[in-house]
Symmetry: C2
Subunit: 121 residues, 2 copies
DNA sequence: TCAATATATGCTTATATTGGCATATATGTT
DNA sequence: AACATATATGCCAATATAAGCATATATTGA
């Protein structure tokens, strides 16, 4: 399938959409356990969805010790516009999404010098 | 589900993506039978996919006699950006998509004064 | 080297999606 | 009114997807 179609497809699922939205709002890489904590989704699901997002070419992964850091991959025009479309969603009226963003801030506050020190919460 | 997620989802399927791409390149409304002819997809499938696209808020429908005309719905910021992302897909290297666009031109050439006169081909 | 931790992955089941086919509906035509 | 045509839709079977659970892998630290 055309890679761009794949990108729309993977974004068209609630959990994956939430992951990407959180990473966009974070503007920095997050590890799996942080996402798990922010989204309140089991680790194995977060990992699976991250894998799909990565293979579709929307995210990048980097190893850092025991952790795997994931971040937005916007090194091409298509991705940039796609993320811009997500950014244009004003109505984060959705309760789940709203809570995700609150949890994101809480999680980031647990970092020390912007480094992950608390894993599961 | 958040309406925007639904929009990504419906675009994340080959046939629906093709429909939208053809409508974008056409820059005008097309009827079901034209799309059927252009895409080489059975009428019932074209209709079903059009229905999903309409309900997701990506297309508009208008009755014209026996025909139902479908067109791009870009009356909001999110849709505009989404369609822009499709427009940015340079690599219409995909053979199917390339053929669709050829067929689109052939079908449009069958119109008389920009009105549909030939139905199934 | 052993244990603990972070993450990934295989298997199974539940659910959703898609296509095919038949048929219903609506509109125009004779 | 009967018929033809354009389109939509209900049902079924095939396939794809997602969650849950158990477990494998990799890395760190004792």
């Amino acid at each position: 399938m055309l890679n761009e179609i794949e990108k729309y497809k993977v974004l068209g699922e609630q959990t994956r959409f939430r992951i990407v939205m959180v990473l966009l709002k974070a503007s920095k890489e997050l590890c799996v356990c942080e996402l798990e904590d922010i989204l309140n989704v089991p680790q194995y699901n977060v990992s699976k969805h991250l894998s799909l997002l990565k293979h579709a070419g929307l995210l990048e992964e980097r190893k850092e010790g025991k952790l795997r850091m994931y971040k937005i991959k916007d090194d091409n025009q298509f991705n940039k516009i796609l993320f811009k479309s997500m950014d244009s969603i004003k109505a984060v009226s959705d309760e789940t999404l709203k809570q995700d963003l609150v949890n994101l801030q809480k999680r980031l506050a647990l970092r020390k010098n912007d480094r992950v020190v608390v894993t599961r919460n």
